[in-house]
Symmetry: C2
Subunit: 383 residues, 2 copies
């Protein structure tokens, strides 16, 4: 399997009080089109990851909206798998090209979360979890991930400080990323002392509410060199599902969907975990990064905390994780995140990541999760 | 292009006060799996068309929900293009198989519209239109289609009685369909005298609010005979987009997205319109069927009314349209409709449509529209 990425584009991530979803999506899409040096008329279809525009801004049918605003009349499909919607958009774009129906695809993600129309963002986001078995009983996403954190601490002796180090690392990386919502470094003490959200997770353990959009131009591998001298190739794509409700799973501390999606992607790419030079993983909450690094095989189960203590996931470490700043510092416009992760890997593999540049990065991985793990999407990229 | 359909399943369409979205989706999915005689473990991925579960029942992430309830851990993707979500689910399933990644795919659609959580169904459905340019100014879907009707009457002399005949025909067909929400025949006079909704459209010109689900088992064409003696093949798939807002288009009486999607599908299938034996078209409002029969080429532009006067679209006519009863009589659970259309064609091509059976049906077409025409999906099926 081989599909090329020939262009990338984003908006700044943050609170965009002066921009609508359509403006954000068009800005990112246009930037990607310019970067790829393709004409709009060369694009064969659009996949747009968006979780909840219906609830956030009253607008469904957002892929056709974007297509129409770009002046195109091509197939336009919104895909949704909660916070994994962006990763799914990338994957559907890949399948569309592999099907032989499309040569060039715009795969993007967008979310406008601050203009909330119907009710609170926390309530809207609970649409990613089970309404009947979780939301109804008062659970929220911070509390779901807090249970994962508590159980991880209990089973493996993971410390509160180790968990906080995820936020510290990712804020450091975010401070080097011009699109990040937060450019400020923080300390472990600040994380521990910030407002409690759901014990043990404090405000600085949680990714923020964010507006933003991101877009990729995908291209049939054989045609890529026609457009660019430095294509990045997707060489593996895995997706898997699990129960929506956390309590229905066999374990609180492993996301089986991540494990399965990674297995599929590694196999497809013909590589093993040691070949990965860097990764963007789904750190919606700090504990989620620790679980992800274990489930992806960067360390043994239970040793994700140790990985942080060793500095292995820092920019200069053995396996840099969330060099962009992650969801934590770049922000988490839910439908856009999976696409933004891919863009960070593309920039790194092209050698365009500036102060965040990982030396000799050749193979990268993205890991995008929906809900508390009911969807996981893993992609592997190569120069 | 050739992909097989080896199994179909639906719920009854109607007001299901005692069933949730998950129960409806599982019922339809299980029926399709039983019909196809496949094991759940043979299914490689799930595509679920759903327009607005976030607003209707507070639940996003519905494809993973269904996958989890079926006990599967495969890729599960919700696709959305307003009322064309079902047709898009079918199309994405086809692309998934053509990509070589999947052999067997469950493509379904589901919508639970009566348990409305956030606000009225008419408001939620306006998520399919432009929030900023249509909903904000008080437009609703009946009023958008009323403008199309008025303009069609003005440009082509289409009469109010001709428009009403769509409802009469489709209620007749629905009276023969056990899954239909309405099994009652109606007369032109009853349509004209029913409550005015948006002049000239009365209550009986409008498709209803409906709960329901529908599912197809798709299979790589070469493997189909392993499962069934009577596969139906999809031989053409076209999708196109247009502006979300009606006023941005060059015409009120032609849906360019339908014209383009049909062209693509006809070409892919290697047929022309005269080869079509029957069609399920998107009659969300009566006028929409008239416009569709013209845009699909069943008659010249402006002559859709005459087609009804001649009885050409009746069960025994030259080109039977909406033999199922259409959205009008079967009901319109928005995400499920496109899949239900495909199921009607499968039943007809298999010779299993009972009292609705079209004699010697060999090639059928489905036409599924999102919004007032911003998305159109056309599929062509063959024995």
């Amino acid at each position: 399997m081989k599909v090329a990425i020939i262009g990338v584009g984003t908006t700044k991530f943050g609170e965009h009080w002066d921009k609508s979803l359509r403006e954000l999506a068009i800005e990112a899409g246009t930037n990607a089109i310019i970067d790829a040096k393709v004409r709009g008329s060369e694009i064969d279809s659009i996949y747009l990851g968006n979780m909840s525009a219906g609830r956030f801004i009253g607008q469904e049918h957002v892929a056709a909206l974007v297509s129409g605003e770009l002046g195109l009349s091509i197939p336009a499909v919104r895909v949704e798998g909660a916070c994994a919607s962006g990763g799914i958009a990338l994957r559907q774009g890949i399948l569309s090209i592999l099907s032989g129906q499309d040569d060039i695809v715009l795969a993007g993600g967008a979310e406008k979360m601050t203009d909330l129309m119907t009710d609170g963002a926390t309530t809207a986001l609970m649409g990613a979890a089970s309404q009947e078995w979780e939301a109804y009983y008062g659970l929220t996403f911070p509390s779901l991930y807090a249970m994962i954190a508590r159980r991880h601490m209990f089973e493996f002796g993971t410390t509160r400080e180790q968990i906080a180090k995820v936020a510290v690392k990712n804020h450091h990386n975010g401070s080097l990323n011009p699109i990040a919502q937060f450019n400020k470094e923080i300390t472990v003490e600040e994380v521990l002392n910030s407002t409690m959200v759901a014990d043990p997770l404090t405000l600085l353990d949680c990714s923020p509410i964010t507006d933003g959009a991101a877009a990729l131009i995908l291209c049939k591998a054989e045609l890529a060199k026609k457009y660019t001298d430095n294509p990045v190739y997707i060489i593996g794509s895995g997706q898997a599902s699990d129960t929506l409700a956390l309590h229905d799973r066999r374990s609180l501390t492993t996301l089986d969907a991540t494990v399965k999606a990674a297995q599929v992607a590694y196999k497809q790419a013909g590589i093993n975990v040691d070949d990965i030079d860097l990764a963007e993983v789904h750190d919606c909450f700090t504990i989620a990064e620790i679980v992800a690094t274990e489930d992806l095989g960067f360390c043994k189960k239970g040793e994700g905390g140790k990985l942080l203590d060793e500095g292995a996931t820092e920019l200069t470490g053995r396996i840099p994780v969330n060099t962009s700043g992650g969801l934590k510092a770049v922000g988490h416009p839910v439908g856009a995140t999976g696409v933004k992760q891919a863009i960070e890997i593309v920039l790194q593999l092209r050698g365009e990541a500036d102060k965040r540049q990982v030396k000799d990065a050749k193979i990268g991985l993205t890991h995008n999760v929906g809900g508390s793990g009911a969807t996981a999407v893993v992609h592997i990229f190569s120069r």
